[in-house]
């Protein structure tokens, strides 16, 4: 079965309980992947990261180095992709 390499950073790491994992999945979309990923408190990642069908603005998903727009959750995954998920840190202050 095709696999996808998952890297979870920051808050998503804490939601999932792991930082790196290889996940088997049938052909599907990024949204399908999120639905298939259980969180430590018993829900799934889709419930946390998605609002009204779009990726929440305080999260980012990067597939093979390219960051998805909020409305790109139906991007297909065919296997072999590297997917990085993370919460955006707002107060990375600087000058």
């Amino acid at each position: 079965m095709p696999t996808v390499e998952i890297a979870a950073l920051g808050a998503t790491r804490k939601l999932l309980g792991f930082s790196r994992r290889t996940v088997e999945m049938e052909k599907g979309t990024v949204a399908d992947l999120l639905r298939a990923m259980p969180t430590v408190e018993g829900n799934n990642l889709y419930a946390h990261l998605v609002c009204e069908g779009k990726l929440r603005g305080d999260y980012a998903i990067v597939v093979d180095g390219l960051s998805l727009r909020a409305d790109q959750l139906e991007r297909p995954l065919s296997g072999g992709e590297q997917v990085v998920m993370m919460a955006i840190l707002r107060h990375l202050h600087g000058g």
Binding site: R20, R90, H91, L92, G95
Partner: protein, 833 residues
Amino acid sequence: MNPATQSATNHGQWILSTCGMCLHGCGIRVLVNDGVALKIEGDPTNPDNLGKLCPKGNAGLGRLYDPNRILKPMKRTNPEKGPGVDPGWVEIEWEEAFEITARELGKIRAEDPRKLLCAIGDFQRILLWGWPAVFGSPNFFTSLGNYCGGSYHPVNGSVDGSFAAINDYDYCNYWIQIGSGDGFSSHLHVAGSTKRMADARMRGMKVVALDPRCSVAAAKADEWIPTLPGTDRAFVLGMAHVLVHELKRFDREFLRDRTNAPYLVKEDGYHLRDADGKAQVWDLRANVPAAWDAVPAEAMALEGSFGVNGTRVRTGFQVWKDILVDHTPERMAEITTVPAATIRRIAREFVEAAQIGATIELNGKTYPYRPAALNYYRGSQSHGNGLFDNLTYKLFNMLVGNLDIPGGHLGVPLDHRGFFISPGEDGMLKPEPHQLHPAPPFKYPADSTHLMEWFPIGFDAGQLNTETLLEPERFGLNYTPEAMLLYHSNPLWNLPETDKVEEIMRRMKFVVAIDIHLTESTQWADVFLPASTFLESTLLNCLEPPAVTGHAVRQPVVAPLGDTKDAYDILTELAERMGFLDDWNDLLNMVSGFIAKPQYLLDPGRRYSVDEYWDRVAKTIYGEERGLEWFKQHGHAVRYRTPEEAYMPYGNLRIPFYFEFILRTGAELREKMNQAGPVGWPLDNYRPLPFWKNSQVIEDGKRGYDFYAISFKEVLHTFADTVVMPWLTEVSEKDPIHQGILINRATAARLGIRTGQRIRLTSPGGSIEGDAQVVEGIHPQVLGVSNAISREFVPGIKKKGSHFNRLLTGSMKYTDSATGGLESTARVRLEAI
């Protein structure tokens, strides 16, 4: 260009690295023999600085071997704190230093991490600026970056996705310089820039400098035009009036085809839009409004007022044209003291030099060619209406069509990633005012003590700390900071209202400093963690390069002296001891680009050395074959930017001339503040176009504060931490401009003041004293204070104590309400004492 001739000395080994004496990091080579660094020169192989090096870089050994460096961790034994109070330092081992720090900061983190105030000022390691965010503190207790770039960076990012800006050294023929040392003494990569400026002058480029003081730039210019501080915008608005209303010479095609100047604006200030939400233009073929993408550019009206459904609409260009009607040279002359005839003459010279309509071929591609440009920096726009200052300078450049064009005014990216380019609305480039970090969402009360949540397009307004922390109830602040982390930052020096900063520091229960010296601020520390200098540490550097792109390595040329550590290692150790190493590594993963190359992601639970980290950064950007070891051998992977990278990198996307998004952002913020926010918070600068409006500094002049006071620096010193270096102060102490408070000769004669006489300057914010230094080269109404005499706690230097920032005020009255940019000029009374 020929690189500078290098030394023939070969007693030892030359090691390639980058300078750390300012924020930019010119390439250097260091001669080392038997573990002793003997000499520093510019790296002739690095196209950034072409083997050149400024005095600060040349004096870098003085930082490494400074006898006043702190070389071992220390803790204070005297609980009493204050200026002149002996802390009772005792040296301790790193284990104890880390244990104390982790314990005290850990308590804060467990209670409420917002209680930590952070002052982090190492520009060459911006990645470390994220440490407070991972700790959980949103606070920014320093004016670093905002003092010069508070309005500058947001506007650059909003216009063309850049972070800084510079005129085109290679092709410009007429260079107007306003309040800046670019190419002469400071700002972007000064060593290489002075070479580029000199070469441009040799081929005949003319420089006109507008400055209150005869700076090095003004002294070397073809013409120096003295002006009052904070009025530079008026000069440029006057010139814009001349171009648009008198000469009627401006680049119509550029404005019509490459900006949103033709987009129609309603009377409420917002674009006219169709049912699909598309911005409208006036179609000259049919004399009706139509969607911007339904009309070929040549059929769009650039100027004009039109009736649509009983209301009046104007093009964005027409709106500014109408604003400029009363910005006549005569009116602007009253504001600036620059004669109207001079404003007209410079405007005419500029537009003639711009060669509107000309083209040039580069690398087989034809570009527009506009060899006239206006460059500007801190002195011209670090003021209470800094947004309007920056917008004015951009729009003036756009009038001759020179933005990001050969010969013209070019955006400079933050780093190797280049311009931040993505499509926005209506065929526009998406504005990117936040390039260092995303804007936090609005929140009331704010989490941050500098109210970053209330500046959706602004910068980190660290100066507001003096209001929020001493009057928290006015801002709804619902916690009280108790601890402070100082890392290469001196807030008691760099923030306005020194007395208030001191009061804030008195309230801290625990202060930890990561630094090299004792300073006005670090002397308040409970624990001092000594950092390695730039000659003992590692990183890859690429910050605001004006002509090149790529990275240069910084590597230890000698083993760290004493018992010092790299700041990366210090902060990583603290993160591990406080239990958030995983989050710290994840932040590094996000900001270092590892998410694009997941094979280099840091494992959250593992501690990485500074070398391991930078090796991954190098490989992420340059490939597996070019890790840290490659960089240590070769020094750099720096190259010139190609014409495609430097000129119009955003292709056919339009850039803003009319800034509707600023208007909209202000309206959205007002709505949120009306629902839940502080009463009376100023929002008056959220305007789509600039105009003349008096700042508080102008208003202070009506209350008997007759003079303007400015601070300045020249190439010998940056910030103020170079003042501790004898090689540099020995030179600066011979220069009259660094001997006292500058006062114009005629003014001094009128007031009976002579050189060496003690004088006092008093502003609405505070007062300073110093010795008068009578000079010719300063505007008669202006008093100048060099940063070389501004330190108050520095052993061994002769001139000190005229700390300019005591004259400044950090409140919103003196802050740009849209960007958070602070006011860097003060109105003062002058008295002999």
